[in-house]
């Protein structure tokens, strides 16, 4: 290491590269990242890969087991299970991939701000956050979905809003850890504005926590999204979606189990992939994830 590099702060990009190689060096991280990348690539390319149209019905193959035409069989309407499984994660991935960054950004910003400012506003807003957290997620989401209807334009803001609320808590706690340190006092003494302190002093220190939090929120959002479509509040048929496919195929599970197993495997592998990645990311960044509780 030369003299120069010692005094240089690593750039964000090179640091990200370091973290990434740390994640991949762990077996669970490598598997997790592979699963996530695999699913993303699949979601992008599946429309060109599927052997059949996901809407095409073929009555003579209704609820058939795997055949040479339909490798994973056909569902109760005679649609190809393989094609529908390959396509089934697209909507979920798109919605959650947009909603997660929004949730982390707004929750993170409010959290850091509250952690820095403190006082009455902090106290009052945290009570409201607590109140929101004490309602089951499904109830909160359903009220908005019943009011405004389903569909992406409702689901994205709904997920982004409710999943940003717990981020406020996390970001606030992480800010409290650094806000009393000397470099923040120094910045205050220099007369920096609040936004400057947040941008230059707090955000770089809270960013690691927010990244891990974002990865976790992503998996929980996917969970929520697929649970909603399982219950009939997510995507509208005939759009293929894993949650909806499981709900539909459940009734015929005793004679056509593949119709359930295929989406189950697809959904589980994606969620496990995200979690393994988040876990290794937390370890690579030195954040103890297990201490955090499910919210």
């Amino acid at each position: 290491m030369t003299e120069k590099t010692l005094h240089q702060r690593p750039t964000t990009l090179s640091r990200l590269g370091g973290v990434l190689s740390d994640v991949v060096s762990r077996p669970s991280g490598a598997i997790g990242l592979f699963l996530v990348v695999f699913h993303i690539v699949l979601a992008l390319t599946s429309p060109y890969l599927v052997p059949f149209d996901y809407k095409e019905m073929n009555a003579s193959f209704m609820l058939s087991g795997p055949t040479s035409t339909y490798w994973l069989g056909a569902d109760h309407l005679g649609r190809d299970v393989l094609s529908r499984t390959l396509l089934g994660g697209r909507e979920a991935l798109l919605v959650t991939a947009i909603a997660t960054p929004i949730a982390v950004m707004w929750g993170g910003f409010i959290g850091i701000l509250l952690g820095l400012v403190g006082g009455r506003i902090d106290e009052v807003l945290m009570r409201i956050v607590d109140a929101f957290l004490s309602l089951p997620w499904i109830l909160k989401m359903l009220v908005l979905i019943v009011t405004f209807g389903t569909g992406m334009l409702v689901l994205i803001p709904t997920l982004a809003f409710f999943y940003g609320i717990p981020v406020i808590r996390i970001a606030r706690a992480a800010t409290h850890d650094v806000v009393a340190r000397d470099f923040v006092s120094a910045a205050r003494a220099r007369g920096h504005k609040r936004m400057t302190i947040i941008r230059l002093e707090l955000l770089p220190n809270v960013l690691d926590t927010l990244m891990v939090e974002g990865a976790m929120r992503w998996s929980w959002m996917l969970l929520a999204f697929s649970s909603l479509s399982f219950l009939g509040f997510g995507v509208s048929p005939p759009t293929p979606d894993w949650g909806l496919m499981i709900a539909d195929a459940r009734g015929f599970m005793s004679f056509a189990p593949v119709g359930v197993i295929a989406p189950v495997v697809a959904l589980s592998s994606l969620i496990i992939g995200i979690n393994l990645t988040a876990d290794s990311l937390a370890k690579a960044l030195g954040i103890d994830r297990a201490q955090k509780a499910p919210v």
Binding site: L135, L223, V264, L267, N275
Partner: protein
């Protein structure tokens, strides 16, 4: 100590009040009201106006909120808009059923989680740890409806060991729910165990690496004595809070499980209400269920905080000094 207790109690109460406001506003947001639902097609003009006047729906929102909140505080949750039945009666059995489900899951899950958490923490990175920690990740990340579906496929369709659906009516005594309740309990307990196990494990690891355990070991305290007398009391303390948070999770997770297994509890009732919300508008029931669930959540958290305070003298004095 008493001061602290009262302060915490006040905070809990404030949370419940804010929740009730959120619930009220949330339900206000829903389109239509009890009158448009009750009158259906005839919901217009004079008839609608009369109905709204009768039910007092024309008054400003804050007045109706105060009336509702005052009633709820005294245990009067109002009457259901359609059935003319007291909500307390309607909800009572189902609340009991949901509590039965949650209680069974807790009795199975919490002890198992603590034992496994300690074992995996003490034998960190050994095969036992890898097996249970990995299964825990699987159990806690896979959506409940997925694990429920897989277990039904496995245990009730292929192996035919357990019934995969609950057919017992809502008002039957608790004993009638066996063995139908077993599969939902297993699913809930699995997820709970996973969350608590991970927490206990990391807590045990942290404590075992601490200075005072090293000190004890250097002084020649036998390993198991160090574990049971010095480490575990400290390691298990944070578990109280995680158990509370997991119970809180349970309140939400139970909704999906109840739908999957057709279990006649509060969650499935709420789901049905929400699905019918556009046509039925039985809003008082929705409000009541939400309020009950939120109150249970706040109570559980309160209890956990108090238990932690009582068990941890450091925390007690820390708060007092503040």
């Amino acid at each position: 100590m008493l001061n602290l207790f009262l302060r915490r109690l006040m905070l809990g109460l404030v949370t419940v009040v804010i929740v009730s406001i959120i619930i009220f506003l949330g339900v206000e947001l829903l389109p239509g009201d009890a009158c448009t639902a009750f009158l259906e097609r005839e919901a217009q003009g004079k008839l609608l106006e009369n109905c709204r006047n009768d039910l007092g729906l024309g008054r400003p929102a804050y007045e109706r909120y105060l009336e509702w909140a005052a009633g709820a505080a005294q245990g009067d949750l109002g009457i259901s808009a359609n059935g003319q039945k007291s909500i307390a009666d309607l909800v009572g059995h189902r609340l009991g059923n949901s509590l039965l489900l949650a209680l069974c899951a807790m009795c199975a899950g919490i002890p198992l989680a603590i034992i496994l958490g300690v074992v995996t923490g003490l034998w960190r990175d050994r095969p036992v740890d890898l097996v249970f920690s990995t299964s825990a990740i699987f159990a806690m990340t896979i959506p409940e409806f997925v694990s429920a579906t897989v277990l039904i496929l496995l245990f009730s369709i292929w192996l035919e060991w357990l019934p995969g659906i609950v057919l017992t009516p809502a008002d039957s005594p608790a004993s009638d729910f066996f063995p139908e309740i077993l599969l939902p309990v297993i699913v809930l307990a699995m997820v709970m165990t996973a969350h608590i196990l991970r927490m206990v494990r990391s807590s045990v690891i942290q404590v075992m690496e601490s200075d005072y355990i090293q000190m004890a070991t250097l002084k020649g305290v036998p390993y198991w004595r160090a574990v049971f007398h010095h480490a575990l009391p400290n390691a298990l303390l944070p578990a109280i809070n995680v158990v509370a948070l997991t119970i809180a999770w349970l309140l939400g997770g139970v909704v999906v499980i109840e739908v999957v297994f057709n279990y006649p509890g509060l969650g499935r009732m709420m789901m049905r209400m929400m699905i019918d919300a556009i046509s039925d508008r039985d809003l008082p029931v929705v409000q009541a269920i939400a309020l009950i669930v939120a109150t249970v959540y706040v109570c559980v958290n309160l209890t956990a905080d108090l238990m932690t305070m009582i068990a941890n003298p450091r925390l007690r004095t820390h708060y007092l000094r503040k």
